[in-house]
Amino acid sequence: MKLMTCPINGTRPISEFAYWGEIRPAPDADTCSDDQWAEYVFHRNGAPGVKKEWWCHTPSNTWFIAERDTEKDKVLRTFLHGDDK
């Protein structure tokens, strides 16, 4: 069984979580070029590596960030938004 650790609710089966994709800061829509906006909207980085991703513990609707090595499928740490020290 795959496990994920919610910063609030602790370690639970992965079936209690929803994955919401890599954190991707949006460019300023008022000042960026069309190419930059298209890159943000349509392109994703599929290269394996350590990424920060949005996850949600669905029974409690707790949104948090997981730092995950997508090459090894290993979660390095999880934390709430704003707690990234």
């Binding site: 609710n9 639970r12 089966p13 079936s15 209690e16 669905t58 029974p59 409690s60």
Partner: protein, 224 residues
């Protein structure tokens, strides 16, 4: 179905319960099953599932929620994911960090008070239309093992911890309580999933010698 009155609240479990109900009653203006039949009393010590959805409850969340509840005379748990019972029997659950579920004891008025009071800055009402269940009996723990990946032995009544987890695919809030030295569990879930949760738990409970139990046989469990 025999319902000689016109309740103004309907249990979210009504559709699942109606074909099996032998006797109805009305509690807190909600039509509730008093008895599913003569087997109720025998089911309860093994794996009894009861419906406590009739309890009045209200919820709030936000950074100002605890102070707002305290101002209304409602005591709030100090730890995240924990619960307490006030002297008047009111249950107060702290869900995560800043969300609270308040469930009145029979005849209580805290929920009505919360619904009537204007939310302060940083306080957001959370409408509660929960299906509220009680799972009791010596096979109750086994029932949770068959329906949920969370280990319910970590929920001791003394520690007053609370878990939000997934049971048969439904998000539930679970706590352990004690009555007469026996541990039993309270579950809350979104009312729209309540019928499925009820039917599934009753089916599993029947394999463990139990099943649905009406309010008359729940006795003290319905009062706590």
């Amino acid at each position: 179905m025999n319902a000689p009155f016109a309740p103004n609240r309907i249990s979210p479990l009504f559709d699942e319960q109606a074909p099996h109900a032998a006797k109805w009653t009305q509690v807190e203006t909600m039509q509730t099953v008093a008895s599913f039949g003569s087997a109720d009393a025998a089911r309860l010590p093994l794996a009894g599932i009861g419906d406590l959805s009739f309890r009045r409850r209200a919820g709030v969340k936000g950074p100002g929620a605890a102070a707002w509840l305290n101002a209304l005379g409602i005591v709030t748990p100090e730890r995240m994911n924990s619960w307490l019972r006030m002297d008047d029997g009111t249950l107060v659950l702290r869900l995560g960090n800043t969300e609270y579920l308040v469930e009145d004891a029979p005849g209580g008025s805290h929920a009505a008070q919360m619904n009537a009071a204007a939310p302060a800055h940083g306080v957001y009402p959370v409408p509660r239309y929960d299906a509220a269940l009680v799972v009791a009996g010596r096979n109750a723990l086994e029932l949770t093992r068959q329906t949920c990946a969370f280990d319910f032995t970590t929920l001791s009544p003394a520690a007053q911890g609370l878990a939000m987890t997934s049971m048969v695919g439904v998000g539930v809030t679970a706590v352990a309580m004690e009555s007469g030295g026996e541990t039993y569990y309270r579950l809350w879930c979104d009312g729209t999933y309540g019928g499925y949760l009820w039917a599934t738990l009753v089916e599993v409970a029947s394999d463990l010698g139990g099943g649905a139990v009406g309010l008359e046989s729940l006795g003290r469990l319905a009062q706590q």
